[in-house]
């Protein structure tokens, strides 16, 4: 009998703490498959963010570190510069990367650090209870924008970090994907694989994959509706695109 599917060994055989319909589970699985298929488990070091994915090391079976909120690209810099033979990735949410860690991601990219960043954009702070993120959509109701995000109220606009990073000469690859549906999931995996591949080839800069990911709990929707919302709403502010490389 042919084996047509098996669990990747890089993903631990345990249940996660994520909410039903959360995108982190899919993203973890894709990441684990990529590390497995590229055969880099024994030289990969991952960086978990502060946010819902802080416990990513409980699910991903690679050496991992948990760092202060937003500082992952600086930690990755310290690791990669002293260990150029290792594959270093950070896994960061939109609060982590696009709010508190803006300086760190911009400057890691600006220095052309040879690291890979997996950027989960779910348009909301998840772990702290669904507050506005820089990536929250206009009109989106969150715990801190209860009338819907409104720039006239000083709440700003959705921040397109990937577009900013793609402008910098220090990035070698920036792509935005979405977990809404099988084609998007396949594209996300291919993008991750490409990003890691670039680092394995010692490409001279930072590779980043932004992933539009559902948060049904704080979007106050069913998981199925959340997937639709990514395609119908999020993609307007965050178009799916290979932005660089």
């Amino acid at each position: 009998m042919n084996t047509v599917f098996q669990r990747t060994s890089v993903l631990k055989n345990c249940s996660t703490h994520y909410c039903p319909g959360c995108g982190h589970g899919i993203a973890h699985r894709l990441l684990a498959e990529v590390v497995d298929e590229l055969n880099i488990q024994d030289r990969t070091i991952g960086i978990a963010p502060v946010g819902c994915a802080v416990l990513a090391y409980n699910y991903l079976d690679v050496d991992m570190i948990e760092v202060a909120h937003g500082r992952a690209p600086a930690v990755a810099t310290g690791m990669k510069r002293t260990n150029p033979d290792k594959i270093i990735f950070s896994y960061q949410g939109d609060g982590d990367l696009a709010a508190i860690g803006t300086a760190e991601i911009i400057h890691a990219a600006h220095r052309a650090e040879r690291i890979t960043v997996i950027f989960i954009n779910n348009a909301v702070f998840g772990m702290t209870g669904g507050q506005m993120a820089p990536t929250t959509m206009l009109g989106q109701i969150t715990a801190t924008t209860q009338q819907g995000r409104n720039p006239s109220n000083g709440q700003g606009y959705p921040l397109q970090v990937s577009e900013i990073l793609a402008l910098l000469p220090g990035t070698v690859y920036v792509e935005r994907c979405a977990l809404s549906g099988v084609p998007g999931i396949k594209r996300t995996k291919a993008a991750m694989k490409h990003a890691f591949g670039l680092q394995m080839d010692d490409a001279p800069g930072l590779s980043l994959v932004e992933i539009l990911s559902p948060c049904p709990t704080y979007w106050r929707m069913s998981p199925a509706k959340a997937m639709k919302w990514i395609e119908e709403e999020m993609c307007k502010a965050f178009p799916i695109a290979r932005l660089k490389g």
């Binding site: 070091i45 930690v75 760190e104």
Partner: protein, 355 residues
């Protein structure tokens, strides 16, 4: 390098760190320690090691965090305002039990303060500094030679105890030039680093973290830290005792202030005043036992510091009410002179009218 050379404190500590096997330096410019960053930018690449000028002190300490987690010897340096920014990372280093060396060439504060020498960061350095229950080992050198000698000791202590060691200097020590000899000989047997993140080749996953959510887990971790800290207090105290055998007044001073106080002690002795000095070299752990046992015999303690009264609190705790403890403090970049310390000694020891 074993010849005697003339160097400023900042460059001497930088070269001493290289001799001590520092694999990586991460830093952000701030006065009065800019010579360290400039020196490292040139010398570290020459040695095939890592230098990164970070975008902030926040980033610098987190780069140290990353390099240290892979088992490398990593350091950063800054001055007071920059060290405040690093406190987040120093707390995480403590929680994650990572070795790191941080040099603080103190300047006047609070706020942007000034760029004159100060000891105003004593509380911040010796009380942990960031959030949570933790300590860092703090070394307070008093000469360029001792500053250089602190570096291998700092790396060794950091590796042995898996914690941050802070070298607490000041603007004078960083800037002034003195002859120095750099000693490359290994000093301690150090434990291996099986916890380091190196990729899980031939072993199970390593995780470096400071989050402990399970009921009681964090309390257990903190209790283990406290046991480690007690061990350090028992074994790693360094201090110098100077002319204290028969002293009626004992100055307690550290760092550059101890150099000034020493001159005042010698002058007082020439005037027939029985003065002495205890100079803490480790500020945490503080030489409480040495000061406490001196207080069993002697009459008076005078803490002299370039701050409004920070170290004096540790002296009072050590003396525990057995003798009076007084303070001569100069904050905000003020540097006490030997003459003013001597005058204070005279006031305290010569009975009214006798002079």
């Amino acid at each position: 390098m074993s010849e005697r050379i003339l160097m400023c404190g900042n460059e001497a500590l930088a070269e001493a760190a290289i001799v001590a096997g520092c694999d990586a330096y991460f830093g952000y410019p701030i006065t009065p320690q800019n010579e360290i960053t400039a020196y490292m930018s040139e010398r570290m690449p020459q040695e095939g090691r890592v230098f990164v000028q970070s975008e902030s002190e926040l980033a610098a300490i987190n780069m140290v965090f990353g390099a240290a987690a892979t088992g490398k010897r990593a350091m950063t340096s800054s001055s007071s305002p920059g060290i405040s920014l690093m406190q987040e990372g120093i707390s995480y280093l403590a929680g994650a039990e990572l070795p790191a060396v941080v040099v603080n060439v103190m300047r006047g504060g609070p706020g942007l303060g000034n760029i004159a020498p100060s000891q105003g960061d004593y509380f911040q350095a010796t009380r942990g500094g960031g959030h949570g229950d933790y300590c860092t080992i703090v070394l307070g050198p008093a000469s360029v030679q001792e500053l250089a000698d602190c570096m291998p000791l700092a790396f060794d202590l950091a590796d042995q105890y898996r914690m941050t060691v802070m070298v607490l200097a000041d603007g004078i020590l960083g800037q002034m030039m003195e002859p120095v000899t750099l000693d490359p000989k290994p000093r301690r047997e150090l434990p291996p680093k099986p916890w380091a993140l190196t990729g899980m080749k031939d072993r199970k996953q390593n995780i470096v973290r400071s989050l402990y959510l399970a009921d009681g887990a964090l309390e257990e971790l903190n209790n283990r830290f406290m046991a480690k800290y007690r061990q350090i207090q028992d074994n790693e105290v360094l201090c110098e005792q100077y002319r204290i055998e028969d002293a009626e007044i004992i100055i307690v001073a550290y760092g550059i202030v101890a150099r000034i106080a020493r001159a005042a002690v010698d002058q007082a002795r020439e005037e027939g005043i029985r003065a002495g000095m205890i100079r803490p070299i480790t500020l945490w752990p503080f030489p409480s036992e040495q000061i406490g046992s001196a207080a069993d015999t002697f009459r008076m303690f005078l803490a002299v510091e370039m701050s409004c009264g920070q170290m004096v609190e540790d002296v009072r705790l050590a003396v525990a009410g057995k003798c009076p403890v007084l303070l001569h403090g100069r904050p905000g970049g003020g540097v006490p002179t030997a003459e003013e310390v001597l005058e204070k000694i005279r006031q305290l020891t010569i009975p009214a009218g006798a002079a």
